[in-house]
């Protein structure tokens, strides 16, 4: 993985010093709350319902064991001994003290971590496929490009005060596992006619209040032009994006109002006019970063049959929680942060430390955070899978439910988030309880359930096969259900099935919906495929059958 050089280290150290000074000025009354807000936000610090919330950056989801131990340490020392992994591959601390945040950031800087630009109207943490570098279907590893973009975007003098937040995702596989089409910019690695690396560039995707799927603005952008072209897009956005209405300020609204053709014209014109003055991305720069992501020193091993003769519980785990690796003899292993009865994405300090030790022993000392709020050991020897499974079980990290209904995404909701309309964690628990039979879950197969506590859509409900959105009805918590969304394989936005339901009815409604699937599926059709074939109406009827309360 990438290691800081002197420039990177000096930068984060100077950033900590700057934020220490800003925090001091705020606490001394020299900065008003209004003046301090944009500054703290650009360092990942929100003031939430109960306390500040600090969002720590995990660039493109990649962590070393040393870094994870540090996260365990700061969560224990400055917080309540746990952290929450988000859909943007970051980690949130829910209870830090404002005055201690500079100390947290100083500790993080000692292991090459920071919280820079994890919130605020600026370029956010760039995300990538969690199987980057190991997926068999990959064209090229997106992480070196993510790292280059991270550096280019860090305290960019021109783009630190944008109309609104700005998210970039990069994917190197035809199977998009980074939800890149619902990002402000999605970059798909491609090869040009001469075999050179470049990108298909999508623009204007996003979730939130107005969910939109990104559109292709350029079919092929050669790699050396990456920064110049990104700057052209950002400049058009910075100048013309709306600033009068926070709900209309994302680039997707600008793209919608201009139309993709005019947007493309403006960006191309800007690019041609300004590329000479834009940062160059020369071969040496690219090579320097690439060298950090060279394949691990894998052993030469045969693929093994590790399932035969093992107990069914291991077989289930193997089937659901591990994935093929491009190197024979290895597999990638998900650590499920969706144990039934737990908060999706939450990990304790103790677990983090144990995970760090296991990563050292079993996976080259690296851990990845996935956008589904799980963790991943990317490079595990197949012969080590069984003992690893036994250890993960003891840590409550082996629930064999990856890809199933209870591997749901949920934002923190009303329990933690100041913007929430409704709780998500109680609903998650209800669903876990109702679907606690693994056999039933396996029978239902691959279903993506995603839940947000308000229209901001941090839980990506729009792109869940089943989406759940918390709404406030006269002070009560109700939930709107959407069906048919997808961000995995193909991108589609879900459709609302009808009136929202009260909290106590959500899990039962979900069950009635999946029962329609069980009744109507053909062959080994997946939930989303049956839904596409038979249409919404059957599901709508099923969802509200025997449901007098819906209003």
């Amino acid at each position: 993985m990438y290691r800081y050089d002197e420039l990177d280290q000096a930068f984060v150290d100077q950033r900590v010093a700057e934020f220490r000074d800003q925090t001091r000025r705020f606490l001394a009354g020299e900065l008003s709350e209004d003046e301090f807000r944009p500054l703290r936000l650009r360092n990942g610090l929100y003031i939430q319902r109960h306390a500040p919330m600090l969002r720590l950056a995990i660039p493109y989801g990649l962590l070393s064991s040393t870094q994870l131990r540090m996260l365990a340490h700061v969560a224990r020392r400055y917080d309540r001994g746990y952290g929450h992994f988000t859909t943007r591959q970051n980690l949130q601390l829910n209870w830090p003290k404002l005055a201690e945040v500079p100390d947290i950031l100083a500790e993080l800087a000692t292991v090459q971590m920071h919280s820079i630009q994890t919130s605020g109207n600026c370029i956010r943490n760039v995300t990538a496929d969690h199987l980057a570098g190991v997926a068999p279907d990959e064209l090229d590893d997106p992480r070196p490009y993510c790292e280059l973009i991270r550096q280019w975007a860090t305290l960019h003098p021109e783009f630190t005060y944008l109309p609104r937040k700005f998210k970039i995702a990069v994917t190197g596989s035809p199977q998009d596992r980074a939800a890149s089409e619902v990002h402000d910019i999605g970059l798909h690695l491609k090869r040009g006619r001469e075999g050179d690396i470049g990108f298909t560039v999508l623009v204007g995707g996003g979730l939130g209040r107005t969910p939109v799927i990104g559109q292709v603005i350029r079919e092929f952008l050669p790699l050396p032009e990456l920064f110049a072209y990104l700057e052209a897009i950002l400049r058009v956005y910075n100048r013309h994006g709306r600033r009068d209405n926070i709900h209309k300020a994302r680039i997707k609204i600008l793209v919608k109002s201009l139309g993709i053709e005019r947007m493309r014209e403006q960006v191309e014109t800007e690019w041609q006019a300004s590329r000479a003055g834009a940062p160059r991305l020369d071969a040496a720069q690219v090579q320097r970063v690439h060298d950090f992501f060279r394949p691990h020193p894998y052993a030469t091993l045969p693929d093994l049959d590790v399932e035969t003769g093992r107990e069914p519980a291991f077989q289930a785990w193997f089937r659901y929680n591990t994935r093929a690796h491009r190197v024979s003899g290895y597999r990638s292993v998900f650590l499920s942060l969706k144990a039934h009865g737990s908060v999706p994405g939450d990990v304790t300090s103790q677990q983090m430390e144990a995970i760090a030790d296991l990563a050292d022993a079993e996976s080259f000392g690296e851990i990845r955070a996935t956008h589904n709020q799980n963790l991943l050991f990317a490079d595990v020897r197949q012969e080590r899978l069984y003992p690893l499974w036994q250890k993960l079980q003891l840590l409550q990290l082996a629930t064999p439910n990856i890809g199933t209904l209870t591997d749901m995404i949920a934002c923190p909701g009303l329990d933690f988030c100041g913007l929430a309309n409704a709780g998500t964690l109680d609903v998650a628990r209800q669903i876990q309880q109702r679907f606690d039979s693994l056999d039933y879950l396996y029978d239902l197969g691959d279903i993506e359930l995603k839940m947000s506590g308000c229209m901001n859509g941090c839980g990506h409900h729009h792109v869940g096969h089943i989406g759940i959105l918390g709404v406030d009805k006269h002070g009560e918590q109700w939930y709107q259900i959407t069906l048919g969304g997808s961000a995995n394989g193909f991108t589609a936005l879900g459709e609302v099935i009808g009136p929202s339901v009260p909290q106590a009815e959500v899990a039962a409604t979900v069950e009635r919906i999946v029962e329609v699937y069980r009744a109507r599926r053909e062959g080994d059709e997946r939930f989303i495929e049956t839904l596409q074939r038979v249409g919404m109406q059957a599901f709508r009827q099923g969802a509200y059958a025997s449901h007098p309360q819906a209003a």
């Binding site: 700057e18 550096q151 003098p157 630190t160 005060y161 400049r235 006019a273």
Partner: protein, 166 residues
């Protein structure tokens, strides 16, 4: 009297905005004219008697609209109405990097605060009309808040290290 931070010097502003009482007087012949008025009658503003000409851009103005006038302009002032409005950074970059403007580029408005001055200087603003209440000494220090940067930027901010170059 208005003061400005020019590079690191705190000096009385020799310029006047059009409409200020002493603008265009023999003591203050250097006048900053809003883009709309300048464009409306460029001939009229061709040569202010004995003084220099500057243009003021509002946040919604396109700096490209100045391109044919730039050779006659000694100054362009860009508006930063609040710290969160970042349009002026792009206006500055376009003036410097694309249109090659070498005159005085000034940032003005309530948005020109301590925590913005480093970014402003990196984008090519060499004169700052600091917002009310901003401590001058602190602003001078803030110009050197970072000694490294990833992106290319205006050379007035001296850096020890920089990653990417134009």
């Amino acid at each position: 009297m208005r003061h400005i931070l020019r590079q690191r010097d705190w000096i009385a502003d020799p310029w006047r905005y059009l409409g200020e009482p002493d603008a265009g007087t023999p003591q203050h012949p250097d006048v900053i004219v809003p883009l709309a008025q300048l464009r409306g009658d460029p001939g009229h503003w061709a040569a202010p008697p004995g003084g220099r000409l500057g243009a003021a851009l509002a946040v919604t103005d396109a700096p490209e609209a100045l391109s044919d006038l730039l050779p006659r302009l000694a100054l362009v002032a860009v508006e930063f109405p609040n710290p969160g409005d970042g349009r002026g950074y792009s206006q500055g970059r376009i003036l410097r990097a694309r249109l090659g403007f070498r005159g005085e580029l000034r940032a003005a408005g309530k948005g020109v605060r301590l925590d913005q001055v480093f970014l402003l200087a990196r984008c090519g603003f060499d004169v700052l009309e600091l917002a009310d209440g901003v401590d001058v000494e602190a602003a001078r220090r803030a110009l050197g808040r970072y000694r490294v940067a990833y992106q290319p930027g205006d050379p007035q901010v001296r850096l020890e290290r920089q990653r990417f170059f134009a």
